[in-house]
């Protein structure tokens, strides 16, 4: 599998490359966590675009795939911690769907690191900031995903 580079279609990041990151956050935990990040004035990279859904269980594989196809360099999916789902078990569904999506990315040859699933509670403002910063850094190092920029 060596030849089938795990780092995606494109090569190294050009200097000054700023990745585009789309995030899907559930309303009750991670969106609220992101709010807390703001309230606490913790700073993170502005590369991220958050899309609010009521529950992480609403997130379909195609949301992720489509974002990558259109030129996202990374996709972050965030929900309540397992056991804390506002809708009982929506985040378990999300876990399943995202695991499946990650396998598809592997087959497609998109680096799995471009898709990240995190459980971020409404009180984890710092974790939200850390996650975004770490993810942005990682994706920046991975370079452009290469779709959507022809």
């Amino acid at each position: 599998m060596e030849a089938e580079s795990p780092s995606g279609v494109a090569g190294k990041a050009a200097p000054g490359f700023e990745p585009k990151i789309v995030a899907f956050c559930c309303n009750w935990c991670s969106y609220a966590g992101a709010d807390l990040t703001g309230v606490s004035r913790m700073q993170y990279s502005p590369n991220i675009r958050i899309i609010r859904v009521m529950c992480s269980g609403r997130i379909e594989p195609n949301f992720v795939l489509r974002a990558l196809e259109l030129g996202a360099d990374g996709v972050l999916v965030a929900g309540c911690h397992i056991g804390d789902c506002h809708y009982i078990s929506g985040n378990k569904e999300a876990e399943k769907q995202i695991a499946r999506t990650a396998r598809l990315l592997e087959i497609l040859g998109v680096d799995k690191r471009r898709l990240r699933l995190e459980w971020i509670s409404a009180s984890e403002g710092q974790k939200f900031a850390n996650t975004v910063n770490a993810f942005t850094k990682e994706v920046r190092e991975l370079g452009p995903a290469g779709y959507g920029r022809k």
């Binding site: 009750w28 935990c29 609220a32 807390l36 309230v39 606490s40 911690h81 056991g83 804390d84 509670s121 409404a122 009180s123 984890e124 403002g125 710092q126 974790k127």
Partner: protein, 441 residues
């Protein structure tokens, strides 16, 4: 229908207020501090599910703020209650906040410029963080309105604050109002629900554990703030002076409780929260050694016994059946030694700990006697509000039309407080419906 007065903005008061408001009853929610939320807002996680405490509470707090039937009176106290069930007149003393709640957005710019910024211990974090004279009690405070500490504010205490009042200048909405005065309002209500919660026993007086003298001896509530992601250390447990996370921790139970010298009763929640706190340590730092010292592990609720087992078997928390007799400190390293009788050998043994957490007793609030007097209700010998019959009338105070909910009635955990609060709301509603709340008392 008459309004209802709910005293106390903790989880019990919030629940009672919401239940009644949903039924179309106007509720006056009186809270002594500047924000509702109570003790539960200060907890990091809740046992046994490890839910983030503020995350599950905050929506209820927001519901209170948004509900058209709930009128919140923060910084307020009840001073008197006249009349009878179905027709009370309550006197409420509203302390000046010196901030116009209708204008303030809680942006916090005023706090940034306060001359006392970072100089006053923050009540919410037990002084582990410092605030200014103008401050938001905590990030998720409801209402999200700044508050001026009139006892500390330079302008309010000295009549002058430097060249100009920096906070007033910083506020873009002109919300700061130094002329605001305390006021007294009278409320016509049909029923009253008392849900004033508890205070924390101060273990400074117990010389044996060294709290207040040894920096690394903390109370359990301080620990909750320290381990909380939005707490003063961002959830990093730090040992003085190294600022490293502890390699070994001891949790000492029943500090001031089940103690005939202090509080003879069992607080009913400490065994479980200590277990939770130890599990939290293990989640943060799996290699930290955790020992819980207690005599009876009272895991009496659904899933509690299983939670304790998991703590022991999966997380490796050690439970020792002993109450330590003493904690000592190495003055050089600040490392602690816990002395106890080993249950297996019967011999005095010691263990070293980087941090000791004291499960201090949760005791009736300091103001209960005064409040009981104001409301004309009785206290029991432990200073909890007395109920008419602990079996069949567990929410009725000794005065008809006044109901009790939560820890202020007798020690209990969050779900029992919530259930009882709803129960008190049911009884209050019965009074409003004039069908007699005491049909079988």
């Amino acid at each position: 229908m008459k309004d209802v007065l709910v005293i106390g903005g903790g989880v019990a008061g919030i629940q009672a207020a919401l239940d009644l408001a949903e039924k179309g009853v106007k509720v006056h929610l009186v809270e002594r501090t500047p924000s509702i939320g109570g003790r539960m807002a200060q907890l990091d996680k809740t046992f046994p599910t490890m839910d983030c405490s503020i995350c599950i509470l905050a929506p209820k707090m927001a519901d209170c703020a948004d509900h058209p039937n709930i009128i919140m009176h923060t910084c307020s106290e009840v001073a008197g209650l006249q009349g009878e069930a179905g027709d009370f007149r309550a006197t409420v003393l509203k302390h000046a906040r010196h901030v116009d709640a209708s204008k303030c957005t809680g942006c916090g710019k005023c706090a940034e410029v306060c001359r006392l910024k970072g100089r006053i211990p923050n009540e919410f974090d037990f002084g582990l963080r410092k605030r200014g004279a103008i401050y938001l009690p905590f990030l998720q405070a409801v209402p999200r309105v700044m508050n001026i500490d009139s006892k500390k504010c330079i302008f309010l205490t000295k009549g002058k604050c430097g060249e100009k009042q920096l906070c007033k200048e910083a506020c873009e909405r002109g919300a700061i109002d130094f002329d605001q005065k305390d006021e007294t309002v009278t409320l016509d209500v049909g029923a009253v629900i008392v849900a004033t919660g508890f205070d924390l026993f101060d273990p400074s007086g117990m010389f044996e554990y060294g709290y207040g003298r040894f920096q690394n001896v903390r109370t359990a509530m301080e620990y909750e703030r320290l381990i909380c992601a939005s707490g003063p250390t961002g959830g990093h447990l730090e040992v003085e002076p190294t600022k490293e996370h502890p390699g070994s921790m001891a949790f000492i139970q029943c500090v001031g409780a089940r103690d005939l010298r202090l509080s003879p009763f069992c607080c009913s929640v400490c065994c479980m929260y200590a277990t939770k706190e130890a599990v939290l340590v293990k989640e943060h730092y799996p290699d930290t050694d955790c020992t819980i010292f207690n005599v009876d592990m009272r895991a009496l609720g659904k899933g509690f016994e299983e939670f304790v087992e998991r703590a022991r078997d999966e997380y490796g928390v050690r439970f020792l059946r002993a109450r330590p007799g003493q904690v000592t400190e190495d003055p050089a390293t600040k490392r602690l030694t816990v002395w106890y009788e080993d249950p297996a050998s019967g011999k005095v043994t010691s263990m070293e700990a980087d941090m000791v957490v004291l499960a201090t007793a949760l005791v009736p609030g300091a103001g209960v006697a005064q409040l009981a007097k104001a409301l004309g209700i009785e206290l029991d010998e432990s200073a909890f509000f007395k109920v008419r019959d602990p079996l069949m009338s567990p929410v009725e105070s000794t005065r008809p039309g006044v109901f009790i909910a939560g820890y202020c009635e007798t020690p209990k955990d969050i779900p029992e407080s919530v259930a009882q609060a709803s129960g008190a709301a049911a009884r209050a509603f019965e009074v409003l419906k004039r069908k007699g709340g005491a049909a079988h008392a």
